[in-house]
Amino acid sequence: MSIPLDGNVMVGALEELFSFDVSVAVVECAGCGHSGAVAAVVVYTDAPGMVARCPGCTDVLFRLVRAPGRVWLDMRGSLCLRVDMPDA
């Protein structure tokens, strides 16, 4: 298996989709309950898309594939995404 990177490398692709900075959002792993910043997850970039894994248990948190004209985001391993944002 190749050497992984981290969530920082996915930030552009996620921001393209969500239109906000997802790197500081907190993702909770459905497998082990670990919570941490999206920037700090383990990311493999050598698949057809990007695969984010939990730094606690290595389960897949989410996968993102960007293709011409569309994006797929599979979040089956993420229980919750917490985003701090202003009220107004």
Binding site: L5, D6, N8, V9, G12, D21, S23
Partner: protein, 252 residues
């Protein structure tokens, strides 16, 4: 949070190379002018997309080296021998050439110059690039927050920004640079070549009791080794922010 208030799609912009300078035999700083560039925070990066005439397209992430808030964007690119993108950017791209960029992205691995906590920066090789943006931002904004940069680098010829770091250190006693040469040391350096270890981090860095903000950037193995050493030395893992790079996704 300023950026979150301006919701809009992150889109590709066309940047024009307006200047470059060679930093080492293998690294070049590229200066881009990007219309409507919103400015960046220290530590952020951009995604770069290159598209060949036949439609083949590839993208990478590169950290921004210049101080926060500028109109121009400086990327320092180290050429990888078998790289697909870095040889083009560091050897072929000429003044006036255009490439696609999007950003700035990433609000987690950033330093805010209004913060008062001491800052420990640990760089592995070209992982120094986003940390240099923090160092330059500190100087630009007149911050005197104590900064220490621990810079692991193969040999003296591979040091990025060496003259600038020396000058910043000369004029400001609250800024220190500590080199850890891993293969070849320059004349007059007592420490033998070797990797950063717990003792070196303890001597060169801030103790955990001072609760410094810590930023570690480098290749994955380096980052994990250093982060583990810091946490073992008592640093709160939540204060140790890390950014890894590698050939497939993000090169600094």
């Amino acid at each position: 949070m300023a950026r979150a208030a301006v919701l809009g799609r992150l889109t590709w912009r066309v940047g024009t190379l307006v200047a470059f300078r060679d930093e080492t035999e293998f690294a070049r700083t590229l200066v881009f002018s990007i219309p409507d560039w919103p400015g960046h925070d220290a530590g952020q990066h951009v995604d770069v997309r290159l598209t060949a005439p036949d439609g083949y397209s590839t993208q990478r992430s590169y950290s921004i080296a210049s101080a926060a808030g500028g109109d121009l964007v400086e990327l320092t690119v180290e050429r990888l021998a078998d790289g697909e993108v870095s040889p083009y950017l560091s050897q072929v791209l000429s003044i006036g050439d255009q490439i696609e960029l999007r950003g700035p992205v990433g609000g987690w691995f950033v330093w805010d110059p209004s913060l008062a906590a001491q800052v420990l920066l640990v760089a592995g090789g070209s992982g120094v690039v986003p940390l240099m943006s923090m160092v330059r931002t500190r100087a630009k904004f007149g911050s005197h927050v104590p900064f220490r940069l621990v810079y692991s680098v193969r040999d003296p010829g591979s040091v990025l920004f060496g003259a600038e770091l020396a000058e910043l250190q000369r004029v400001d006693s609250s800024f220190e640079v500590h080199y850890a040469f891993t293969r070849t040391t320059p004349a007059g350096v007592a420490r033998p070549a070797g990797r950063i270890d717990a003792t070196y981090l303890a001597d060169a860095g801030f103790s955990a009791g001072l609760a410094p903000a810590v930023f570690v950037c480098g290749p994955t193995g380096f980052v994990e080794t250093v982060a583990n050493l810091l946490v073992a030395a008592g640093h709160d893992a939540g204060r140790v922010k890390t950014e890894r790079f590698g050939p497939s996704g993000s090169q600094r």
